[in-house]
Point group: C2
Chain length 474, copies 2
């Protein structure tokens, strides 16, 4: 598909972050000009610019280096669409959140409920937990002999994903014997871990996750592209959008680089005590973008040590909201509560359909004013009204506008947030791309389940202070 | 159904909130004993105890005063289950979050995907937004002539719900003429608003929302009970559980009243700067309890004025997480990030099924240790390991344990959180039950859509500072 770059460019409106609008909590024009700010900004910009494509910034190359892979994915997806009734992603965290967000954004909002002749592809599920009730529920509703499973783990040893794989593979082998292998596609590291070894031994079709692409930055590699292609999303459009955003964010001039500006707005706000970042898209299609972003932002910036080795405890806690729905849940708090957050609204200029609100309620004036409008007008009015209300209450907010929601604008948005995160991490002078804080929990799990080599941790757990009954109410 | 109260009682374990375990951020045993604390606690307990059933605390009576209503609901639900293929709730906020949470908790996790002969009732949808794309998507997949709509709004003038109603009613009338009325049930105030007038005129079956029951406290009145009964949830069990919890929380002795203790733990933590409250259930069934709780907690406690009329900006921001899924998204931040949050884990002793992890991976020791365990053991180990890891990192947390997930334990949990919220609001000395902060946005919406009587607000909006182009990047 072709997209008009000029009319399809996403916009950043940060008026309501500025003190001239929002009052004392806002950012002053002069804040962008202090020598220390300019020095830090320059350094952060440079480190991201020079880091692109290197180390763990392989994600910045994905829009440029996947031509062959994309062809392979499209061919594979075509065959899956024809031959399978169900497609199930087995993955967690970065292997699940991107596929879920992209599916929600670009497929029919009740895709699985559509008849096959309209879907023209398999039903789509992402299993991102190890709750036994959920696994049983999935097995109740799929026909495993008509299902393609996509096992996704870069390390090849993610406990949750490998658990799911072991269960599914066992059933497939019982039912299909040697043909089990035709029901599994592995997406994993080319060089490391167990899954690649298992895949080679069993003969699975395999896609690779590049070394320099971490889980939360992986939506634009085969982790995200294969599931997207299976549900007929224009993956070339996604990559084009991402490439366009990379090119729009090449300037070290803050006012010409929207991802850099967003990072700066958040950074200055964090320094000013705003430890909460709300993301509130006004579109059901964008609902799970907030979930995907929550991982990206939380896991990248939540760190306890700087690159210089200094102790710190930084990171803004992402909060997911949905407009207008959560106006009826969270906006009371946002308006009247503490001055502790930055709200990112995401709006859409043109929804992909128009629904009219019919007339016929003349007797009831406080309903009748809706009649003759469209739902489109209502949701836009509510977005603007909520922006107005929180601004009036002095709460920092800014808005990202999408001309419409399609593969090209979604690709832009994904890259926008990845760049913003990289810039923000550089401004905080932390390692944006690691996640050492999850090791403790993993190791404790291994110890509890008796994994060889974890005797010391098992001992540590056994020697931990016992729970005191006086602090349990039962 | 019968439930064993003793074995089905939920438990609160707050060891990891105490300084003896968690270190400097924790609560000291002595904090419970200071004269000012004891005075405030007594006052808060008394105001809730004496308020029950009065004013906006009608929800505390719901387990006692609905015998006839329950019979009517059960009869109505029976007929809907027999005669309709789809059941759609039209509602937002408190009219949607409870029904969604209860459905997710007590129905099959892929309920709508089950064949009708297993479901034995209609497919279930809750429309809680006014995105035109979502409305169109719903209309694509339901057969409106086989659908029962439950329009739920206490005020009878919620713009989003009435918009949905207008659209649906118009289609129903076009297709079914006078029989349209047999496809709509109204749940609304008996005395106030438009919906009751419309319902009487059109002849809709109607259920009433008691005056003293606000949206976010309404799950145990017909708002929640009718949808629950339609999907065959044991609503009597829900009410029994809620009643049991009310009775378990009658003591002014903190250590014998779990809801009061939770409120106190959160209150002391808020005073100590913990402005974020994470809720992390380890069960897919409880996923949307975190959403329901987010409204309850945010809208009740997010206030800018005390009952004495003093200016304040209080309220803890609720964050929704899901175990184990969000270990791979948020726990890095929780472990290494700022000391700004309290984490509430919710665990389940016995899941409703057991799934074994098969053997056959002996060659790969760092996968093989999983084999022979169950998913149940894995999810429990991960919950305990995460609790251990965040505790080791000095982050405040406590755990609510459900013996299993059923109507009786869910009823307990809902009442637990409502009581906790009431106590916490009383401790903050605010009006827990109002939501004045949403008026500004509503009024601005009315003005933007040209509702009569909003000329002044329209003028105010027109005179608001214009957006400056220099703060827009496009």
């Amino acid at each position: 598909m072709r997209y008009n770059k000029k009319s399809m460019k996403i916009r950043l409106d940060y008026n309501n972050m500025m003190s001239s609008v929002i009052g004392k909590d806002g950012i002053k024009e002069d804040d962008f000009k202090t020598p220390s700010f300019c020095r830090d900004l320059k350094k952060a910009f440079k480190s991201v610019e020079e880091g692109k494509g290197k180390g763990m910034m392989g994600w910045a190359d994905l829009p440029y280096n996947q031509d062959e892979i994309v062809e392979d994915i499209l061919e594979t997806a075509k065959s899956i669409r024809k031959n399978f009734e169900y497609f199930v992603v087995l993955g967690i965290g970065g292997s699940a959140l991107g596929p879920i967000a992209t599916f929600q954004a670009l497929c029919h909002l009740h895709y699985n409920d559509l008849p096959r002749r309209i879907r023209k592809g398999p039903k789509f599920y992402v299993e991102d937990n190890v709750d036994p009730e959920r696994m049983e529920a999935l097995l109740d509703i799929i026909d495993i002999e008509k299902t393609m499973f996509n096992v996704v783990t870069k390390s090849g040893s993610t406990s949750e994903t490998m658990t799911q794989y072991l269960i599914i593979n066992n059933i497939l082998k019982q039912k299909l014997g040697d043909k089990a292998k035709d029901h599994i596609i592995a997406t994993t590291s080319k060089s490391a871990g167990n899954l690649i070894k298992i895949a080679e031994k069993e003969g699975y079709k395999t896609f690779y996750i590049p070394d320099g692409v971490g889980g939360r930055f992986s939506e634009l590699c085969p982790v995200g592209l294969l599931p997207a292609a299976v549900v007929d999303i224009d993956i070339k459009g996604l990559l084009l959008g991402a490439k366009f955003m990379l090119e729009e964010c090449k300037s070290d001039n803050l006012k010409k680089n929207p991802a850099l500006m967003s990072a700066v707005l958040q950074h200055l706000s964090m320094k000013n005590g705003k430890n909460i970042g709300v993301m509130m898209p006004y579109a059901d299609g964008l609902k799970f973008i907030a979930d995907w972003y929550a991982q990206l932002w939380a896991e990248s910036l939540g760190k306890n040590v700087t690159l210089s080795g200094k102790s710190c405890h930084v990171g803004q806690t992402p909060v997911k909201a949905l407009g207008v729905t959560d106006q009826h849940s969270q906006v009371q708090l946002y308006a009247e509560g503490p001055f502790d957050k930055v709200i990112t609204f995401i709006g859409v200029d043109e929804y992909r359909t128009t629904v009219e609100i019919p007339k016929g309620c003349e007797e009831y004036p406080n309903v009748n004013f809706l009649c003759g409008h469209t739902m489109n007008e209502l949701i836009q009015a509510e977005r603007m009204a909520t922006e107005y209300a929180v601004t009036k209450a002095g709460k920092l907010n800014y808005t990202i506008m999408l001309p419409t929601l399609n593969a090209f604008t979604l690709g832009q948005l994904l890259m926008y947030f990845m760049l913003q995160t990289a810039y923000a991490g550089a401004l905080l002078n932390i390692d944006t791309f690691n996640q050492p804080g999850v090791e403790e929990g993993k190791n404790a799990t291994y110890a509890l389940l008796g994994r060889p080599g974890y005797d010391e941790k098992r001992m540590e757990l056994a020697n931990a202070p016992q729970k005191q009954n006086k602090y349990i109410i039962c």
